[in-house]
Amino acid sequence: MPRFLKISLWIGMAFLYVPIFVLIIYSFNSSRRGSVWGGFSTHWYGELFRDEKILQAAWISLKIGVYSATGATVLGVLASVVLVRFGAFKGRRLFSSLVSAPLVMPEVITGISLLLLFISAEQFLGWPAQRGILTITIAHITFCTAFVIVVVQPRLADMDSSLEEASRDLGAGPATTFCLVTLPIIAPALMSAWLLAFILSFDDLVIASFTSGPGATTLPMLIFSKIKIAVSPDVNALATLIILTVGIALTLVMLGLRKGRKQ
């Protein structure tokens, strides 16, 4: 039985990770044609850093990632505080399901609905005047907030609420208590939530495609448009770099969550 389990584990892992390994290996392929091995080379990595378009797209994705992760973390923490600390207020259950709905909402639907929102907002309010970085950021904040809540809410619920009461008792108002006691204690979870939101925003293709406009092409959008023409080897190199970045971020998320749990 243990042997059977071991074999199934390896098959499962292979199913998940072999494609990624193949991609990483082929990013060092000197051949122009993606399907033929022409020897080891770091040529395509050099090519990548000379490509203005790719660098620009990466910069845009990075900016959107930072903005939306920050926005989502602020909103997500506020929502978590409401859900955990404000007792059983009227409509709590509805609020709780509404804030977590984006977790399961098909991206296409989220994308279309936001696109419609931005178009009508432009028509009736004249704002946002053009779709671009701002609209993608707003769109990303909407779904990233749900993930932030998933990470922060349990940590806040775990926190001994008498810590906050002790702070009040010792003469701190509610706002001071939140800044000096609550925030530092949930900081590891906050960091994890921020990084998770950043990864989700950085990786997103579908919602960004719907809510983007001229001059705002994110990295995943650029990759997708490139492979529509032909699979070029520099995309493999780019994808490898993205995997590396996401891998590091995910490790930090895990470390942050573990530290939070230990306290």
């Binding site: 008498s162 009040r168 008792d169 010792l170 003469g171 204690i185």
Partner: protein, 391 residues
């Protein structure tokens, strides 16, 4: 001659002592007033019509089981719960609507609630920084307080690097450094082991006396309440059942509930067969007759409950030559002997079919040392140390 109204106990041998207990320190007698206080959570009533005055400088214990409402009462005073009905007055001011940070009292939490991300020093100084005390003064006062609780060497440590007893002292220091008028302690010794608990009790009492604080302690541990409190308020189902000095609660409980809750108890159901003056006779289970002294008058044939504390009973070998020390002398057989060093617990099945608990102090070697399980014994029992309650 009916014994009307609530059950009245027969008084113990110690009425004078009860008066002597009342040497409470001088201070405003109505420093803290609970006036008809009620707290409801939805349909559930946690505290019901509690009225209570607490003197300045006294140690007052709220004693009760879990769910008795004692913690809720404390949390209302501290400003953490709203008051559904009634008023709480602290030093002449109504606490209703005052946020916890403005009340001139501090609370020591059961979990200690030390801030895990701050050093001991910063934990203790937290309250002073919030009040805008000048930095130099904060440093002096924190150092003084840490010395008082013997934690000077631990000032730079984080709470996670301290033992349970040390954490407890940090929590105490964090409260008293603010020089509050009142200190609320929620199960202050609950998380400590027995030996540490006795030491800490003494330390708490010393600090209370030195600083002249008013202590309100919430506890479920009657021993803790008895040793520390000037007065105890026993709570049950959201209501105060009896308030008084420990000795009064023990010797003159106002109800069977208090008698049973504070200390151990032997209980019998019986019927009064006769009463001449104070001398009453009660027939209990299986035809045994007990002689009881009661200042209260009962009807012949009235159903009563009889109680007696285990330490008021004595046990002798059945063939002992010692004369009975009391008016009740019943025969029985030992079913259990628990030797605890300073005292011995016995359980004896009386010939009447009722089992009684007896606690004997082992002050000298005596024939009693030979009493074993299964031995025939005589249980002596003063008529005065027995209480009668209307059933």
């Amino acid at each position: 001659m009916p014994a009307s109204g609530p059950a009245f106990p027969v008084l113990g041998d110690t009425m004078e002592d009860a008066a002597q207990q009342a040497d409470v320190k001088l201070g405003q007698p109505d420093f803290i007033q609970f006036k008809d206080v009620t707290k409801k959570f939805g349909d559930f009533t946690a505290v019901q019509n509690v009225s209570l005055d607490i003197r300045e400088g006294e140690i007052f214990c709220l004693l009760g089981g879990s769910g008795s409402g004692k913690s809720t009462l404390l949390r209302m005073l501290a400003g953490f719960e709203t008051i559904t009905d009634g008023r709480i007055i602290l030093d002449g001011e109504d606490v209703a609507g005052v946020p916890p940070e403005r009340l001139p009292l501090n609370m020591m939490f059961q979990s200690y609630a030390l801030f895990p991300h701050m050093s001991v020093e910063r934990n203790v100084g937290y309250g002073l920084r919030r009040d805008g005390v000048p930095k130099a003064e904060i440093a002096t006062r924190v150092a003084e307080t840490l010395e008082l609780v013997k934690l000077t060497d631990f000032a730079k440590r984080k709470p996670s690097q301290l033992s349970g007893g040390q954490r407890q002292r940090v929590a105490l220091a964090r409260c008293i450094v603010k020089k509050p008028k009142v200190l609320l302690l929620d199960e202050p010794l609950g998380a400590l082991d027995k030996k540490l608990r006795e030491e800490t009790q003494q330390e708490l009492l010393n600090i209370q006396r030195t600083l002249g604080l008013t202590f309100i302690i919430v506890t479920h541990d009657q021993e803790e309440a008895m040793t520390m409190a000037d007065r105890i308020g026993v709570m049950n189902l959201g209501q105060i059942v009896q308030v008084g000095p420990p000795r009064e609660l023990y010797e003159q409980p106002n109800s069977l509930f208090i008698a049973d809750f504070v200390g151990a108890l032997n209980r019998f159901d019986g019927v009064v067969t006769s009463q001449v003056g104070e001398n009453a006779q009660v027939r209990v289970q299986n035809g045994m007759t007990l002689k009881i002294l009661s200042p209260y008058e009962f009807n012949e044939g009235e159903r009563v409950k009889v109680t007696a504390r285990p330490e008021k009973l004595s046990v002798f070998p059945a063939d002992s030559n010692e004369a009975p020390t009391a008016r009740n002398a019943l025969q029985g057989q030992v079913t259990f002997v628990g030797y605890m060093g300073d005292q011995t617990d016995y359980r004896v099945m009386l010939d009447g079919g009722v089992e009684v608990k007896i606690t004997e102090q082992n002050h000298h070697m005596s024939t009693k040392i030979a009493i074993r399980t299964g031995d025939k014994v005589r249980v002596d029992w003063p008529a005065r140390s027995t209480a009668l309650y209307s059933a």
